[in-house]
Symmetry: C2
Subunit: 240 residues, 2 copies
């Protein structure tokens, strides 16, 4: 693994024998989805972290989209976090993280698509400026209602059932970052526990999950990174 | 099947025994994806077309997203054209329209994702005003290069191989509409044949495909519909 985020003027790191290669950025929520899928499936991989503000020349040249996550499988480059996660679950042995029932799988994929509303609002709130913007909080909580109700309907502590699975891991990265917004913006950014009791229990369960722990960043570290992004010089290596 | 697009004040149509129910709009390219997948798989379904400008009350109430396509499977509502197409291919017997090889399937899904750039530009060009806007044509053709090269690399007449399949059907709806833009905007909107010889052959093959024919709209009809949209009163029933 490359110790720091590689930047302009760097060279790519030779791949490790018998491992998948993931190009990533430590604070990218989409990349985090792939780390969680790989860790949940216990698939051996090495990581090259990329400075997305000053992308290395070799990265721009090799990947036409120049996005992370990018997973290299036998010289084939795969993009798009959800496509990669599905691929890993289908192609690799071990416990499945997504439902094997086509209808349940479709419902879970729709749920993940609906989370795009949450992640879009989260981005606007968190990166509004030196302080988070509270004006979109009501919209964010409205979008959250769907997920609270869904946990109620499913009647299980996690969206995947009695333990976290693919659906949970695909929406987790943004949830991990909410507490950082509260640190930066104060008590008004606290998610109301009485309105979202199921999501609160879900959150507690997720933080205790070994897979989530395997790629966890504390709220304080997230807050520090967000501030550095807003200030124009992302501190990619703040925990490496 | 409901004969016309149902609108405010209408009632929903009772489902037909033994058929899936698809809520659709005749000119929606995303809904067209699902029609093509259903027709390719020869799955029995009935259609209720919905006036998206004046949505029926029952449609707004039943579907929280109020989007088409929506497919009803045993009282479960499925959204998102790609999720629905994948579901149909997995859950129903008959010839598979998507690759069964996980890596090829992932590559095909990435290709469909990359087509979002084409469809986004297409929308901006086609719906710019009474006449299409030529300023984004160079960007559109640049985005097209990827697909021309991909056909060259794959070495097959269709993205799915020797005959059209899921990938082809998922990107076709926007390609069907290009000729309508030329009708409305004139010769400058002609896709240059010398730059895209493979895509030209692909297009000819697609128009002759039975599945594509099963839900085809002529360029003249598309042009007429586009004009009605830009004028503010979409002529949904123009071919029903």
């Amino acid at each position: 693994m490359a110790p720091k985020h590689l930047s302009v003027g760097s060279s790519d790191v030779p791949p490790e024998e018998g491992k998948l290669r993931l190009y990533s950025m430590r604070f990218c929520p989409y990349a985090q989805r792939v780390h969680l899928a790989l860790n949940a499936k216990k698939i051996p991989y090495d990581v090259v972290y990329v400075n997305l503000k000053q992308k290395p020349e070799w990265f721009l040249e090799r990947f036409p989209l120049s996005k992370v996550p990018a997973l290299v499988v036998n010289n084939t480059d795969l993009y798009e976090s959800l496509v990669i996660a599905d691929y890993l679950d289908e192609a690799y042995p071990g416990e499945k993280i997504f439902s094997q029932d086509p209808l349940q799988k479709a419902k879970d994929r729709i749920l993940i698509e609906m989370f795009n509303k949450v992640s879009g609002l989260f981005y606007k709130i968190a990166y509004a400026g030196p302080s988070p913007d509270p004006s979109l909080l009501p919209d964010l909580f409205d979008a959250f209602d769907f997920f609270e109700n869904e946990l109620k309907t499913r009647g299980t502590p996690f969206f995947s059932g009695s333990k976290p699975g693919g659906v949970d891991y695909m929406i987790w990265p943004w949830c991990e970052r909410f507490e950082a917004v509260r640190i930066l913006g104060g008590a008004q950014f606290r998610v109301p526990k009485d309105r979202f009791p199921k999501m609160f229990e879900w959150n507690k369960g997720m933080i205790e999950d070994e897979v989530v722990k395997s790629f966890f960043v504390t709220p304080e570290q997230h807050a520090k990174f967000m501030q550095s992004v807003v200030a124009g010089s992302p501190d990619y290596d703040n925990i490496l």
